[in-house]
């Protein structure tokens, strides 16, 4: 019966008379967020059947089992199929990675301050009685806990380092979407079959093939679903036509490569969803969509596909990227508040000829954002000296919307950064953004970009207390001591990261994704085995601004002006500036200049320490033979990481937040406006932040008004480009608006603000982070 409709016609592109994007948006957000155990249960079921087989094959079979059995649905109005869960925005648990954290939070997760989820009593029981007992003792977490050596554990206990990705799949990877779009699913099945026939003992080929075959079947399940839906009497004739076309397309894409923009988007989304089922990871980012989709876009436009249809499909894609939310533990949700799921997209930038690659699709993708305005996809614009002014203006107009999207990345510093790490010129120019603000070479990198956080300020605190009796100390000796302490912890963090790296190799190979990362198929190895072309690990140094401010105060107060002894200063810190030290806090805050005011004396303290750190870290190789790269961003971790540090000489009280962003000045301490901030930040050699950096700037909406406001803003960004600062993002909201939103959240359901490298709904953030964002609004004009 269905075959009657197999001949596709173009009618379906014109049949929708009115855009349904708003309805799709509403559908996504109408219910509370829940935890879904579906993936966990299916995964576990499969695992019980594959006892004794190699881990990579077991994982592949489990992923295939999910693809074959997970409940699927086509939501009202959707033109693209593929939903990770039937119920939108469900949080997914991966007990195979870490079955324990949820046990501690089970009864509080529905009303925790950040990123709450509803967990049904029935599901809790299933979790306690079936999932937990099975995974206890055999999860990745158990492996990590057993393997962490004493010194690395001490660094964790000292609150200096935090290891990430110990409870979920390894994300922060961009698959080679261009390759799968150019070849189709069938090509990979054939290729992997041939490879496997030639090397039957290679488990990677077998595993990858298992998932690609399941992906093809998954497409066919959606075909069936679409046909089923089309039979329903409750749908309109127009919808029926669409569903039949969708069914047809699913059939084609189960083996063939896409022939149109529509098909390309469908395959792209499905690839992303399969990746999600495989690893439940954070940030399987989208890369340079305007580049790899452009040939499809161009072809469709030339073939007369209506613009409205193109917008509708792309809009559907935008909306769907908000369906996948990440369930994190309470601690982790503090660091990554508001669901940064990392559907990050990089637009524009240089091409392999060194020319600007901005095309019509780049414009369309920004333009469409104006009408969708959701936190995902997290659009980024790659800026360089050759950026067309028209595109730059469009970028500025989009930023003016106030949602913090797009963020800006600077080719003029990022490309040299990659070159310095042995990346080829072509590949360096092809970089994209992964996660929030990390940069990677798409389709070629396993970069562990988010593997660990490294708290500079805590190291300083430890050093100060260790030296407190040394009143004979000189400033240079103090700095030398601090640098030595940093070196020690750098070693620890690389050891800790390597354990997590190894754990993913042992427990969580991801053959499907690996097949879409270059050199893995040639090498016959999963990315966790080191199959990728580039193999980095990225460690984020945090607290630079506070560290520089503190050292400057110490230098002046103790060593140059001799106002107090070193030991006395440490006493004051221990007393948290209370009692007789109250005035001292005022004094150090107000009478000493701070990082962010274009004062070279302070800025160079930050620059020297960061350089030392980056070079030291770069001496280490991870277990895949790749370099460790330095990053300088906090996401929202400047709040929890601040909780780990007592009072500091810059006047910061114990447990107060650290400077936000990574390279931003301490909140409220920059007095001279955004040009001075950029100048300070530019003194830290941004080329060294190969893994990523983050700078927040706030602008009053009034400064961007009118065409000359846009022009001056664009000029400001060109100066940013020349100053070779890696990244910047903007919050353009007035404080009044945000205060009002805090008071009347019900009126601001759609208000999106920049958190850190990503945007989130303001009302989804806890009070502390809201306050931080408001505070960051105050001081820039």
């Amino acid at each position: 019966m269905a075959e009657m409709y197999a001949v596709s016609n173009n009618n379906f592109m014109n049949i929708r008379k009115k855009s349904l994007l708003d309805d799709m948006k509403t559908f996504l957000f109408q219910n509370e967020r829940r935890i879904s155990l579906e993936r966990a249960i299916l995964f576990t079921k499969s695992h019980k059947q594959t006892e004794g087989e190699p881990q990579i094959i077991r994982r592949a079979k489990a992923t295939a089992y999910i693809l074959d059995h997970v409940k699927i649905s086509i939501r009202p109005g959707e033109l693209l199929v593929g939903n990770r869960t039937v119920r939108p925005r469900s949080g997914i648990l991966s007990p195979e990675m870490d079955p324990y954290w949820i046990m501690k939070e089970m009864d509080t997760i529905h009303d925790r301050p950040q990123d709450a989820f509803y967990f049904t009593e029935a599901d809790k029981r299933v979790y306690r009685e079936q999932l937990l007992p099975y995974w206890s003792g055999r999860s990745m977490k158990d492996f990590i806990n057993g393997k962490i050596p004493k010194n690395a554990q001490k660094a964790v206990d000292d609150l200096v380092i935090k290891l990430n990705q110990t409870d979920k799949g390894q994300g922060h990877i961009i698959m080679d979407f261009q390759a799968i779009l150019n070849h189709g699913v069938g090509y990979y099945i054939d290729l992997l079959s041939r490879k496997s026939a030639a090397q039957p003992e290679n488990n990677f080929f077998i595993s990858a093939k298992v998932i690609f075959e399941a992906m093809a079947r998954h497409f066919l399940r959606y075909r069936k679903e679409a046909l089923q839906k089309a039979k329903s009497t409750e749908i309109t004739e127009a919808r029926k036509v669409e569903l039949l076309e969708m069914a047809d397309m699913c059939k084609r894409l189960s083996s063939q490569k896409p022939q149109s923009f529509y098909e390309a988007l469908q395959l792209l989304w499905m690839t992303s969803i399969v990746g999600q089922y495989e690893s439940n990871a954070s940030s399987l980012s989208l890369g340079r969509m305007d580049q790899y989709l452009y040939p499809f876009y161009k072809k469709s436009v030339e073939e007369g596909v209506p613009g409205a249809f193109i917008r509708e499909v792309l809009g559907d894609f935008y909306v769907k990227t908000n369906d996948v939310v990440l369930l994190r533990s309470r601690e982790s949700a503090k660091c990554f508040a508001g669901f940064p799921t990392g559907y990050t997209v990089a637009l524009g930038g240089l091409d392999q000829y060194g020319q600007s690659s901005v095309n019509e699709l780049s414009y369309l993708m920004l333009d469409l954002y104006h009408s969708i305005r959701l936190p995902q996809p997290n659009l980024s614009v790659r800026i360089n000296e050759l950026i067309p002014r028209r595109f730059l203006n469009k970028t500025c107009e989009t930023i003016r919307l106030g949602t913090g999207i797009p963020q800006i990345f600077n080719d003029e510093v990022i490309i040299p950064g990659f070159l310095s790490k042995g990346v080829s010129l072509d590949d360096a120019r092809d970089y994209a953004v992964v996660g929030c603000v990390e940069t990677t070479i798409p389709g070629k990198t396993y970069g562990l970009h988010d593997i660990a956080l490294f708290n500079f300020l805590r190291i300083m605190e430890i050093s100060l207390y260790e030296l407190r009796d040394r009143d004979d100390l000189t400033f240079d000796q103090l700095v030398a001591y601090l640098l030595k302490r940093i070196d020690g912890y750098v070693k620890d963090v690389t050891i800790g990261s390597d354990i997590v790296d190894l754990a993913h190799r042992e427990f969580a190979p991801i053959p499907f994704l690996s097949a879409l990362v270059e050199d893995c198929i040639d090498n016959g190895k999963d990315i966790t085995e080191g199959g990728a072309r580039y193999n980095f690990s990225g460690v984020q140094g945090i607290g630079e601004a506070n560290l520089a401010d503190s050292l400057f105060v110490i230098k002046k107060l103790v060593f140059e002006q001799h106002e107090m002894k070193f030991s006395e200063l440490v006493d004051a810190l221990e007393a948290d500036f209370e009692g007789k030290y109250k005035n001292l806090q005022n004094h150090v805050i107000h009478d000493f200049d701070k990082y962010g005011n274009d004062n070279p004396e302070i800025d160079m303290i930050a620059a020297k320490i960061f350089r030392h750190y980056a070079l030291e870290l770069g001496k280490y190789r991870n277990i895949r033979g790749g370099e460790f790269n330095a990053g300088a961003y906090t996401v929202s971790a400047h709040i929890p990481l601040g909780e780990d540090v007592g009072a500091t000489p810059d006047g910061r009280k114990a447990h107060d937040q650290l400077a936000d962003g990574g390279l931003s000045p301490m909140v409220g301490r920059d007095r001279l406006g955004p040009t001075a901030v950029l100048k300070s930040v530019s003194k830290i050699d941004n080329v060294l932040c190969v893994n990523g950096s983050l700078l927040n700037l706030k602008f009053q909406p009034s400064t961007l008004q009118g065409s000359s406001g846009i022009h001056k803003f664009a000029d400001f960004l060109m100066a940013f480009t020349k100053l070779k600062i890696r990244h910047v993002q903007f919050n353009v909201q007035s404080r009044d608006t945000l205060f009002d939103a805090q008071k009347h959240p019900e009126n601001y359901a759609g208000l999106i603000v920049r958190v850190a490298g990503y945007s989130a709904f303001f009302v989804d953030l806890n009070k502390k982070i809201q306050d931080d964002i408001i505070a960051r609004c105050e001081h820039v004009l």
Binding site: L672, T675, K679, G709, H711, K712, D715, F716, L781
Partner: protein
């Protein structure tokens, strides 16, 4: 060496001339506008003090041309990308015309755009010193009625007009700026006089600056009363009405310096 008395240097100014600018505020002003948002600059060119947060704070710092250059150069990269530069403001710049001229000359020699913001209340010889080195003149026009102007702000309209016309006859680009101060500059009769005056001289563009309260705190530091404490801000419609009034005479009217 000439020194200037500077009371503030403000970076990233986008409302006072082309591009991104740094404003150098020079101390000293012969007038007494009741709405003045820099009251600390009024009076002779002399350092003074105010009380801020319980502590005495000096106002005004004698700086050499080189010292000021060193400060304004910090944002050079922004001037280059935005065709911005340095604006001298006050107080009244012309009170320190020799210093201003020397500074502007140096800045202009670097290919950086120069501007002054003036009220033109001094004898012509002062403005003549600075005009050769000035690309843009942002010229305040406030109260046109000679008697009121004298009583309320202490200015002589004939001097203002002479200065204005002198600027117009120089190569500098002159933009009249009208602060919209409710009850002072906004009465229709005053606006009409301003419009008639500028149209008569062939002016094609003006800036209007709606009243703000940013300066109110400073009066407390100075222990002076602030007459406009309770004056409400203008509504958007009121600003639009003024804008339309000027535009009806074919004068491009820019609000707050941003088109």
């Amino acid at each position: 060496m000439t020194r200037g008395l500077v009371f503030n240097i403000q970076r990233y100014s986008i409302h006072d001339g082309t591009g991104i600018r740094t404003i150098v505020f020079l101390k000293g002003c012969p007038l007494k506008c009741p709405w003045c948002s820099n009251p600390e600059s009024q009076g002779p060119v002399r350092p003074s003090v105010w009380m801020k947060d319980g502590a005495e704070e000096p106002l005004g710092k004698w700086m050499s041309v080189d010292e000021v250059l060193h400060e304004v150069e910090k944002d050079e990269i922004f001037y280059r990308t935005s065709n911005g530069g340095v604006t001298l403001s006050g107080g009244e710049v012309l009170m320190q015309a020799d210093f201003a001229a020397e500074l502007l000359k140096e800045v202009k020699a670097l290919g950086i755009s120069t501007a002054i913001e003036t009220t033109g209340a001094l004898p012509l010889k002062q403005i003549r010193k600075v005009l050769p080195y000035t690309d843009q003149v942002l010229f305040d026009l406030k109260i046109m009625d000679p008697d009121k102007a004298r009583q309320i702000i202490g200015e002589k309209i004939s001097t203002i007009k002479q200065n204005f016309e002198e600027a117009l006859n120089s190569p500098a680009h002159v933009i009249p700026r009208i602060p919209l101060i409710p009850g002072y500059t906004t009465p229709p009769e005053n606006l009409r006089q301003i419009r008639d005056y500028v149209t008569g001289l062939g002016i094609k563009e003006i800036h209007i600056l709606p009243f703000h309260q940013y300066g109110s705190g400073k009066y407390e530091y100075l222990k002076r009363s602030y007459r406009l404490k309770d004056t409400p801000l203008l509504k958007q419609e009121e600003v639009n009405t003024v804008k339309a009034f000027f535009e009806s005479a074919q004068i491009k009217t820019v609000v707050s310096g941003l088109e």
